[in-house]
Amino acid sequence: MPSPSHPGAGLIRQGWISLALWIAFGILIEGFSAFRSPAYLDDAVRREMFRLAHAHGTLLNLVLLGAAICAHLNLIRLGPMTSLGLRSAVLLLPAGFLFGGLWHFKDEPGLAIVLVPLGAVLLLATAVYISLTLPRR
């Protein structure tokens, strides 16, 4: 178990808490489907955005946990900035989908969708940086 001062500790805390939240959100949208909620099923934009939010939220938090484990095993180097970039991206991407679907224009996600490309670019840059700084074996 990494110590609280280990760079992976924050990632693990955020990863598990977020994973729990996104799983709960998944149960919520399953419930919307099961109970035929018109606010979800009759709104194509919201449905798509919520599905993407759930998928990205769960998957990216698994990536976050994976990164924490890799850092603990010294398989990757996770400095404070890298860690911040990764954690921000994992928050921004699904949040963009979630809020873009919650409040949206008629056939277009809401303005919050702008968080998605921001998060995606951050995630890409972080992934590139991690791959450039892999420890030599």
Binding site: D107, E108, L124, A125, T126, V128
Partner: protein, 595 residues
């Protein structure tokens, strides 16, 4: 010498930007070019509904459920709704039509009295709500075949039984050329492509059926700009009006221009000036949604005639539209709703550009596709939008003199009665008026009161209206003794064919009082009158064999023999005498109405 080393963070961002650049290049490389779609043609800039769907999924889905979409379709298992397997024949005037599927295609085979058979492959379908008609193609011409499928009654019919033509009309009367006429309103942006010199056709449309372009016009530039998310969000945030979005939105036009979009098809029209027919038939329809319809067309009125020395086939054309209207000029056929609405006080009393329009009541993307009305707009809420003085039950009863929950207090029933015929159904007039029972006396036009009070005479209705609304009807005068007859009976036998058909429709389902009259109406010489009479009778006794309105008289009579004993002989005798007496009073001038 070792090469310079970039700081890792900088390198990471550099690689990220390169990757983003590659992504942008890939998007740019496969970006569609909407701005130049169909360039140089009459339908330049018109997109297909599939293109609109990419952004407007909600509107696409609601449109997809409409009968507009399926107005014209390529023939195939998905589009063909007629029965080609079991009840797939109809014999009419001795000609046996058989509808079959062979070699992966749909065919209509006609075997005449001489035993010779003609086969026509069905290549397109027209209609999907009440009847479905079928097109075959010969050379460069699509032709409507004379047999159609009645989707309501689930049976094959000959088109003589759908239009107002009497028995004995030629079998091929309704074999019409699609390129010349139907193409204009049943598709988007028609281009008949007639070469006037050699009379050949190269007909094209922007899209089969009544799709997005029919109401929203060319959207190529709009779609091109909308490829950029920045533009889209700028439009959304600023709520920019339609012209700024480079596409027509009927909701954002002034009310008159908005009505013209519907009037382009729901308002039969002739080219203005008449010579415009030549470029129309060659280049294509000059009208685009949002433009002034009256710059290109004149909506047909009762007094209009078409006179031309040279029709599309070099023939002389001479045609009057008078029979399509009641004598006061009010339309009595569908596809004239624009003329009806624009002559009503709701329109004429309003301020141009800001008055009643089609979408005041109808919604193209909401509600029941049968009529394109939301549930709310099927109620008095439609009229109360403007006439708020009739909102409460007490106000309503004081106005209508009928119980608030009764059909007599539904605005539509009195102000938009079903006195219009179209595609085997009675429809509400869009000439929104106050009931005028004296018009039945003066003009032979059905009135709203007698649509329900079929057992009242027109004179009794006139007296009642004078008593109940003395100010409104003080100048209303009764007719002679002919109008002392119960109006249902009088108009069923003494009216012209349209009046007789609408009366039979109003009698649906039959009652014990109207059934003997309807049995007599089965003797009418117009199949369409018999159609409504048979439906009214079947509505009363669905278990009995339904008289076939298209069958020869002896066959109909054989079926009716099972019906006659259900009502007392004296009632039937009285009905027969009424028919003979009243039929002698009517003008026997044929009403020939195609749609």
């Amino acid at each position: 010498m070792t090469p310079p080393r970039f700081p890792k963070p900088l390198l990471a961002w550099g690689i990220t930007l390169l990757a983003l650049g590659a992504v942008a290049a890939a998007i740019w490389a496969v970006a569609p070019d909407y701005a130049t779609v169909r360039a140089g043609r009459a339908d330049a800039g018109y997109l297909e509904s599939g293109d609109c769907r990419k952004c407007h999924e909600t509107n696409y889905t609601s449109w997809h459920a409409t009968f507009h979409r399926t107005m014209t379709q390529e023939a195939g298992p998905q589009s063909i709704l007629g029965d080609f397997e079991r009840e797939n024949t109809i014999t009419y005037q001795g000609v046996r039509a058989e509808m079959v599927r062979e070699k992966g295609a749909h065919w209509m085979k006609f075997t005449g009295v001489d035993g010779k058979t003609q086969r026509h492959e069905i290549v397109r379908t027209v209609g999907s709500r009440r009847i479905q008609q079928y097109l075959t193609k010969t050379g460069d011409t699509w032709s409507r075949l004379p047999v159609a499928y009645d989707l309501v009654q689930r049976r094959w019919i000959h088109l003589n039984g759908s239009f107002f033509y009497p028995d004995g009309t030629a079998y091929t009367q309704h074999v019409a050329e699609w390129n010349v006429n139907c193409v204009f309103c049943h598709n988007v942006k028609a281009q008949p492509g007639l070469n006037w010199d050699n009379r050949t056709w190269k007909t094209e449309v922007a899209e089969l059926g009544i799709a997005c372009g029919a109401c929203h016009g060319p959207a190529g530039e709009h779609a091109q700009h909308a490829l950029s998310p920045v533009t889209r969000y700028r439009w959304n945030l600023k709520e920019q009006i339609a012209p700024a979005r480079l596409v027509t939105n009927p909701r954002r036009l002034d009310s008159d221009r908005s009505a013209m979009i519907c009037g382009h098809c729901h308002g039969q029209r002739i080219p203005e000036p008449p010579q415009r027919i030549r470029p129309m038939m060659s280049v294509g329809d000059p009208y685009d949604p949002g433009k002034n319809l009256h710059e290109f067309y004149k909506p047909v009125q009762r007094e209009d005639k078409v006179e031309s020395a040279e029709g599309p086939h070099g023939e002389k054309v001479s045609f009057s539209f008078a029979t399509r209207f009641w004598p006061d000029g009010s339309p009595r056929l569908t596809a004239y709703e624009y003329q009806g609405m624009t002559r009503s006080k709701c329109f004429t009393a309003g301020k141009p550009g800001n008055r009643i329009t089609c979408i005041s009541c109808h919604s193209m993307h909401d509600g029941d596709p049968r009529g394109q009305l939301t549930e709310r707009m099927k109620t008095n809420a439609a009229c109360i939008q403007c006439h708020q003085q009739f909102t409460t039950p007490a106000q309503l009863v004081a106005h209508t003199k009928h119980p608030a929950e009764s059909t007599g207090s539904l605005c539509y029933n009195c102000h938009m009665p079903k006195i219009v015929y179209g595609i085997m159904a009675a429809h509400r007039t869009h000439d929104i008026t106050n009931p005028r029972p004296e018009e039945t006396v003066r003009l032979g036009k059905p009135n709203a009161c007698n649509q329900c009070h079929l057992d009242w005479s027109a004179n009794r209705v006139i007296a009642a209206t004078k008593r109940l609304w003395p100010d409104a009807y003080k100048e209303s005068n009764p007719g002679d003794q002919h109008f002392d007859e119960p109006e249902g009976q009088r108009s069923l036998f003494a009216g012209d064919a349209v009046m007789r058909a609408l009366t039979a429709a109003a009698m649906t389902p039959a009652t014990d009082a109207t059934a003997p009259l309807l049995l007599e109406a089965m003797q009418d010489t117009y199949p369409i009158v018999r159609y409504f009479a048979a439906n009214a009778l079947a509505g009363r006794r669905p278990a009995l064999p339904k008289p076939d309105y298209l069958a020869p008289a002896r066959v109909r009579e054989a079926t009716l023999q099972t019906w006659y004993p259900l009502w007392p002989a004296e009632l039937r005798q009285a009905a027969r005498e009424a028919r003979e007496r009243l039929a002698a009073q009517r003008s026997e001038t044929d009403v020939e109405v195609g749609e």
